[in-house]
Symmetry: C3
Subunit: 460 residues, 3 copies
């Protein structure tokens, strides 16, 4: 089965320079979700009909191996858009799946169910269905196109809200705008389509009535969840759809053995992986290619992007980790910042108000307070005091620093890079280090302390 | 049309020393919302009936140009409160709008709809309605006063839950406690009011039955949303009402072209302005007179109060900005603190654990790590190293510092204010600066570095 | 009345090494909530039937004064589990309360209501009920066991979804799995129980039909909230149950006079106490034995664990406080970290990027920026500058520091512990303090500042 995605709409209600289908939900454009459920249903031969700002869409999809078609008149209507892609499917004697690019919530199981349904009707009823229409039953169907059926249960028409009779308005089954069409019948139906008298547009929904009038059986297939039929027409609806996908992702992790607290407050993107027995607390953010390993804890308000968190590691509240790796058994945060390909070895502790930037730490490194460690390698069991700064930038260039094993860097010390501090060196607190320090050396930069009695001038 | 707000209730369920109508939702007292929807409906001549702690209410409203009336007995009932304001409307041959101060969710469009309805009945039915009662249909009306109608659809009575018959309890249309009364009929009805036998209170709801018995037509008008009729009786209901208003604000921004992620997790106050194509991430806080400009991004957990954020500026997660201006194309945060009339020029970067207090930065200033910059001006293209502190307080007074253009302040440097560092000066890392530094000078305060071989005492 | 908690289930859907009933909601194992509502209903004589990983359960409950029973076959079914505890109740001529350990949401008022109901039936109907079944009416009962009644309203059977007839599936009243059984009748019923043909398990639900067949009256009692009957079968359901309990806690505080903003975004644990007129902002976390006193404010994103916050104290956003005491009238944060038995005296200010660790501060201490204060006592009215660090760790041991009253510690100063800084001492900015400083002394450690004209090498 091929699929055709209609992405030619103007999306004016988005009030955006970006085409509607490229607006992002959880860091991915809306159309990415459509492609994902199609591919997950083994529909890999995909055409996209674009028009308005088509270059942006083509550019985004350039690595997705899809075929492009242009609707010359973006106000031609849905059927005009579909006909613009006719060359993509006209040779088939199979079904073509037709979906709007703004319908990101369809589930792959539903598509597989539609496919099975077509097979079963062929097998048991010996009929080829002309159109299988995805539908849902809404308690309040106001605003949606209604599925009109004959007494045998075949769909004979889809009527829009504004054209529905009083009786038709009572119908609760509504159209999702997602179809499987049998191509030979579809091509035949195209010939009979007429523009709407009101809008001059050609509508896909009219195809059902045309087929039914020709004696072709059309059926509806009920979505497993009401949300599946949701179309996204503005940014408010976009945030709703984003929440639906987010909750589906989180539910699947919880069912697989991840503990979640207040899942509705957790932000997660679709490429994130969370292993069993991890525990995720409220208001956390998990973005990009993030991997949360077994039995780790991500605490309240922490933000993790494109990073890996090791087993049994705890990320304390309000930590920010990006593009980095934290190994097993670490304690990180609260309120630290780890970024730019940093790597924190096992059993290390990174504490509050510490920034790691391109910092490679071996095992059991401690840097617990108020430090900036940039462009640096640090050996195992080294302790970095509070207020330590690596001056990696001289105003023109960035330089690298190497600190060995079991080194002690005293508080408020400043290391002027490039620098090499060898194993077991001891840097006295407050020192500015402008030379390399050999193994086991003690380095001190400090003046005499003068104590002037009764000179504090502090009043009683 | 005049309006009278009844704000005399004791509000005992709030368990507060503050009158109920002054409890805040999104930073504004509940009664502010009532005034706002009245004024938005062009009802500007407003009376307020207070009693319990009336001074606090009068004080809050002193600039709002409203008339005050006192209900001498705060337990006199709703009609007694209304009668306390009689002198405000008794000369009118028009309608008076009557609303409780604890009904903050009515929409201006609903009020305008009520006004249109009165005009239409006059025009087409040639009737003057005595009372138009705002109502809603609730699936479960338990606890609410029910709207009893005659077969013609006129309201003939409002019955409270506890006095309703079995049949009346089946009525789903409930009373919002929001009315438009035709004044001459209202004054006449006042004469017939009798205190409740149970509570000795006079009730506004009794006015409907009095009018109906006199052959005066009363009607109900359905609110467009169920939430509009919501009255706030304790702090739990207050937080519900706050959420409703918050979601309405956010929805209006999303529909206007702002991208919101997990809008229910965003806190926003009603004076905030957000421009098109701005993107607001979860758990952010936007308070007071905050202005978020075009295409800016406010990322997760950031807090912005009374501040302006420029175009294409990104506020990274967990930043705190108050009473300040950030210009265009800046990168701010994560985890920085900008406050007290700070001003950050275009293309500047303020990074983690940096505090700006009354700091005026020109364009392209970089201060990316662990700094305190207080009471300072900084010229363009100046770079502030990690750990830099401006010592603006000497124990008694605060002093100002000026740093020029293209200055380099080395890491962990301390500038003792008041100080003037001229253009292109270079302050060596770790220096304490106790004198002004001329243009292009290099300043160093540093002792000799002593390296004592094999003296580190770190064990193997 | 005795109660027996069935906690022998395998809980396979939790995918965990920990028994299901020990999974935590708001920091307490699920079974803690069951014990809590039993004890709150004055049911103190409690038996627990365990099997799968019973040692962990017994260990957790070791101080709870409960009796343990082992179900030898964890796949024996619910009635087999109940029979495993038979020796706990077989001597009673009273009711035994039977509940699953995975049913944490029952309310104590409901249990008291069930007890009253039993008494009333005895008193007015002169009947001893054999089984009183907790039930609820669900709009969609799919998946739940249905309560089948005779025309007199007595329960005659409970049928599981999969065994229900079409008519039985229409029943909306469902079984909560919570029962009060009259012990003599229960023991008799045990004799007639037969294993399910399908699963070979013995079911408690079969007891109802057995009793009804013996002419014993069984009744159902409706839970006051639908959520009460909720059973927790996997971690997704666990997070739902956690949210229900959280919202109940928050509602009770709001009704008692606490102001909450976006309560659904607040995380609170059951041992937390919040006093009247406190105000809690969105995305805050209140854990463990935390006490929030009168009229204090906990602002957005702050995290407080096992700590006490004084009256009229404000915790600014994104602060992290653990195991500490903050006195009245303090201003704390934003973005500070207070931990390890710290104690902050009245009217003190602790500002951004400040860490207090085991720090005892008297009244009016100011430490507003970028400091690490560890293992320290500080006297009243002392001011700590920005960037100050107490070097409490020498690489081997931690040392203590004492700072007196009205001391001024200049910015970026480093105090090497152990140290004693006496009252009214003044430490110059940037000094490293390696000796004790007497009262009123001025201490300076600083080199000469060299200013090299035109040596900055910064290009134009």
């Amino acid at each position: 089965m091929k699929a055709i995605i209609l992405a030619a709409g103007l999306g004016t209600r988005f009030k955006s320079d970006k085409p509607k289908v490229l607006h992002e939900m959880l860091g991915k454009p809306m159309i990415w979700y459509v492609l994902r459920y199609l591919k997950a249903s083994n529909i890999v031969d995909i055409g996209v009909v674009a028009s308005h700002k088509k270059e942006q869409i083509m550019d985004y999809l350039k690595d997705e191996n899809v075929s492009f078609f242009e609707q010359s008149n973006p106000k031609g209507g849905t059927a005009d858009a579909l006909m613009a892609g006719k060359s993509f499917f006209e040779d088939m004697t199979d079904y073509v799946f037709v979906v709007n690019g703004d319908t990101p919530l369809v589930k792959e199981d539903t598509i597989k169910g539609m496919q099975r349904f077509l097979h079963m009707v062929e097998e048991y009823e010996h009929k080829t269905i002309g159109a299988l229409v995805l539908s849902s039953f809404l308690p309040d169907p106001t605003g949606y196109g209604r599925i009109v059926k004959n007494p045998q249960g075949d769909v004979i028409k889809i009527v829009e809200e504004k054209e529905a009779t009083y009786d038709q308005k009572q119908i609760n089954e509504v159209n999702a705008g997602v179809y499987m069409f049998y191509v030979p019948y579809l091509l035949e139906a195209f010939k009979h389509l007429k523009p709407s008298e009101k809008t001059n547009e050609l509508y896909i929904t009219d195809i059902i009535e045309i087929m039914a009038n020709q004696g072709i059986t059309c059926r509806s297939f009920m979505a497993s969840e009401i949300t599946e039929i949701f179309g996204v027409n503005d940014r408010w609806e976009l945030s709703f759809a984003e929440s639906v996908i987010k909750m589906r992702l989180l539910e699947s992790f919880a069912r697989a053995g991840v503990s979640l607290h207040s899942p509705e407050s957790i932000y997660i993107e679709p490429d994130v992986v969370i292993e069993k027995d991890a525990e995720i607390f409220p208001n956390t953010v998990l973005k990009g290619n993030t991997h949360i390993k077994k039995s780790s804890k991500i605490m309240n308000g922490s933000y993790i992007e494109n990073s890996s968190i090791g087993e049994d590691t705890t990320i304390l509240p309000m930590s920010y980790i990006k593009d980095s790796i934290i190994e097993d058994d670490c304690t990180i945060g609260p309120m630290c910042h780890i970024r730019d390909n940093s790597h924190v070895g096992k059993k290390s502790h990174i504490g509050n108000f510490v920034e790691l930037k391109n910092a490679k730490l071996k095992e059991q490194v401690y840097a617990k307070h108020l430090s900036y460690l940039g462009d640096i390698e640090i050996g195992e069991k080294t302790n970095i005091g509070a207020g330590v700064v690596i001056a990696n930038f001289d105003g023109k260039h960035k330089h690298k620093t190497h600190i060995g094993k079991k080194v002690f860097i005293g508080s408020n010390a400043l290391i002027i890079a490039p620098r090499n501090i060898e194993d077991k060196a001891f840097i006295a607190g407050g020192s500015v280090i402008t030379r390399d320090i050999p193994k086991k050396a003690l380095a001190v930069e400090r003046s005499e302390l003068r104590i002037l009695e009764n000179k504090s001038k502090i009043e009683d």
